[in-house]
């Protein structure tokens, strides 16, 4: 199977500091990580490769230092890394990013063949939009499978896939045609530790870099700030929400407290009860 995984290097939000005086975000010196949501896709990709054979290619658009994240992905076991980097991409919103990434995917497909699956992160921790994956799917004409919690079956020969998808009030089981773009739900798997060979190979590998012209982007007005219709109007700290936390307690022991807690939850979330029962019946 040919599998592509899009990853993004993001600042480790757990370590971002706010300047005590100016109240602005201090990005300097903040370590970067692979967007955590992307790792669920990467692990799923590696599992599929282990089952069906083939190759996993990780792709990213970002500054030259994003190659560190691609190298790290190789250390988890991915086979090759491609970086699309160009100053013209600075300031890209989700529209411009999905455009640039789909060109990179097409470029890679010229050499390797069209991928069966493109995994994207459900969203990023520094943007939270959840739009890039669907944007890529739309541009490349891939089936779109978002919020996937498990892949039940794949048949690369027949070009079919069956997945479980988390929906608002339950779990959907969806069958679709390949090629598909999939975003995995967090917690659906856990990224593996690469082997000694994986990390050694990663440390010695070159990450292939392309610039805009290299992937055949001629119209630069579709890239970066110019290709980004999204305007950030204001950045602000969220105000306190109206929902209040309640403490549920009971004098008569742990299980009584638990029952009281569940009752209180279901009272406010009536749909949850049916959901849970439905899900339970699936096992």
């Amino acid at each position: 199977m040919r599998i592509f995984v899009c990853i993004k290097q993001v600042p480790d939000s757990a370590q971002i500091r706010v300047h005590p005086v100016t109240n602005t975000i201090m990005r300097q010196g903040v370590p970067t990580i692979i967007n955590p949501y992307d790792l669920f896709g990467l692990e799923e990709a590696l599992r599929l490769r282990d089952r069906f054979g083939g190759e996993v290619t990780v792709l990213s658009m970002g500054p030259p230092m994003a190659s560190e994240s691609l190298r790290k992905a190789l250390g988890y076991g991915a086979d090759r890394g491609l970086l699309l980097t160009d100053r013209f991409f600075a300031g890209s919103d989700t529209l411009a990013t999905s455009y640039a990434l789909s060109r990179l995917i097409e470029k890679a497909a010229e050499e390797q063949g069209m991928p069966h699956i493109v995994f994207c992160g459900k969203q990023t921790i520094d943007g939270d939009t959840a739009q890039v994956g669907p944007g890529i799917a739309q541009r490349l004409g891939l089936s779109q499978l978002t919020y996937v919690s498990a892949i039940d079956a794949v048949d690369p020969e027949q070009g079919t896939i069956t997945v479980r998808r988390r929906a608002d009030h339950g779990v959907q089981v969806l069958s679709s045609r390949l090629p598909a773009m999939i975003t995995m739900l967090e917690g659906s798997n856990q990224i593996r530790r690469g082997t000694q060979n994986d990390v050694l190979r990663a440390a010695r590998s070159d990450i292939t870099q392309w610039n805009a012209a290299g992937v055949g982007i001629e119209d630069l007005s579709l890239c970066g700030l110019r290709g980004s219709p999204t305007v950030v109007k204001r950045v602000f700290a969220p105000s306190v929400r109206s929902e209040k936390a309640t403490i549920v307690s009971s004098e008569s022991g742990v299980s009584a407290t638990a029952s009281a807690l569940i009752e209180a939850i279901l009272e406010r979330q009536p749909a949850l009860e049916t959901d849970l029962l439905e899900q339970a019946s699936g096992y």
């Binding site: 005590p20 370590p31 000694q196 990390v199 440390a203 010695r204």
Partner: protein, 436 residues
């Protein structure tokens, strides 16, 4: 791209000593593998520190152009503290505003990462998030490689450089070095406090890239052997305190971070930190046993550098420079053998010891070899009594209260005599001896 797992040398750890060793060997064209357990070099390292330029300059003469340096040090304060204040020495000179300053404050996480980048650029292969768990040996017991916590058959090399820091678990587990004695290690805790650059500069009377460091001892360690420090960075202050582990467990009444809290609240320190935001907290061991605690440094197929070789000069608070110098000297020893086509046997690696003896490293370690013992016995007198006497004497001297000066002098002498008697003489002799 070759996929072989065989190297000329494997370096365990990417602190100052491991980076120096790997850098020097890679520059000389050796095929080097460096293995670091942290997410990146420096990620596991205690935050702020002083960098002594000379040791780095020996390897990277133009490091000042790129290395992440915080401030060059123009002022050194040494404080003897009692509960209410301090008496001490300040030394400051415009001479330190030289073109190639001699000492800098740095943030280790950033500095180590930069240094390690130079190692990679020099051609070494570096693995992260990989912990060396054991040494691999052949039938004769020669070290031939390392095993790690990742699945695989290990990595192999002619020589393994142990640059794993003070804990030296690999060395211990392999029986190459004894377990650390509580008397030979200090436990230090350290915090970073963020403050705007202008505030730091006005508070410490500095401008531009200038920096101030304070080293302090006295009642702040409750009679235990230890010191505290405060370093100015560009936009933050590193502050910390450490005590011998043996004292901490013997006295048992306070943990290092309680000591640090008290130090931060001390009237002499509090105002320097005011309004700062605390971020990042770290605890780390420092090998302080001195010359006598230096373990075996090399054997068949292995060599030890930096904190793993117990190279810290506690009196002058030098560690990273000894780490870099020992790393470089070990590397040079290995390079020589490599070029001569010789194996890295115990005997051949003996040349490392000779290089050390000829450098400032062993000379300084030897000079202070008796200090740890003296402190073990005289610790509380030196750490508690003398700072008190000194501050008491200073107050008697400076207060103007109608007493005549002769009476004041007598009072000072009497206080000292009362506290220590003839012991004063003995202490002076012991101190002089240990310092010789």
């Amino acid at each position: 791209m070759s996929n072989t797992t065989r190297f000329d040398a494997i370096v365990v750890g990417a602190g100052p000593s491991g980076n120096a060793a790997a850098y020097t060997m890679a520059r000389a064209g050796l095929n080097v593998l460096q293995i670091e357990r942290g997410e990146y070099a420096g990620s596991k390292n205690v935050q702020g520190a002083i960098l002594y330029a000379d040791a780095l300059e020996q390897m990277i003469p133009d490091f000042r152009e790129e290395a992440p340096l915080e401030r060059h040090i123009v002022e050194q304060r040494i404080w003897m503290m009692d509960d209410k204040g301090h008496t001490g020495m300040h030394h400051r000179s415009d001479d330190y505003n030289e073109e190639r300053p001699n000492r800098y404050t740095i943030i280790r996480a950033q500095f180590d990462k930069w240094f390690n980048r130079q190692v990679r650029d020099a051609g070494a292969t570096v693995l992260y998030e990989t912990t060396v768990t054991d040494l691999l040996r052949d039938a004769q017991g020669r070290v031939i490689g390392v095993q790690t916590d990742r699945e695989g058959d290990g990595y192999y090399a002619d020589v393994v450089v142990l640059a794993e820091g003070v804990n030296a678990l690999v060395g211990q587990r392999s029986g190459l070095r004894p377990e650390l004695r509580a008397e030979d290690v200090a436990l230090a805790v350290k915090e970073m406090h963020f403050l705007p650059q202008e505030t730091i500069e006005s508070r410490f009377n500095i401008t531009g890239g200038e920096g101030v460091v304070i080293e302090a001892m006295g009642t702040i360690t409750e009679g235990m052997v230890g010191t505290a420090f405060l370093y100015t960075n560009r936009e933050s202050i590193s502050i910390g305190i450490g005590c011998l582990v043996s004292d901490l467990s013997r006295v048992g009444k306070c943990s290092p971070y309680q000591l640090l809290d008290r130090f931060k609240a001390h009237p002499s320190i509090r105002s320097l930190l005011e309004g700062s935001e605390m971020k990042e907290y770290a605890a780390h061991l420092i090998p302080e046993g001195g010359y006598r605690a230096i373990p075996e440094l090399a054997g068949d197929g292995w060599i030890a550098v930096g904190d793993a070789g117990h190279f810290v000069n506690a009196v002058h608070r030098e560690g990273s420079n000894l780490a870099m110098t020992t790393g470089r000297l070990a590397a040079e020893t290995i390079i020589d053998l490599h070029r001569q086509g010789q194996r890295c046997t115990r005997q051949a690696l003996g040349a490392y010891r000779k290089r050390l003896e000829n450098s400032f490293v062993m000379k300084d370690m030897k000079k202070y070899k008796d200090v740890p013992r003296m402190l073990e016995k005289q610790g509380s007198t030196i750490m508690d009594l003398y700072p008190r006497l000194m501050n008491g004497a200073a107050q008697t001297w400076f207060r103007v209260d109608g007493r005549d000066k002769k009476a004041k002098e007598n009072a000072i002498v009497k206080a000292a005599w009362h506290a220590r008697g003839l012991g004063l003489l003995g202490d002076a002799v012991k101190l002089a001896r240990a310092w010789r």
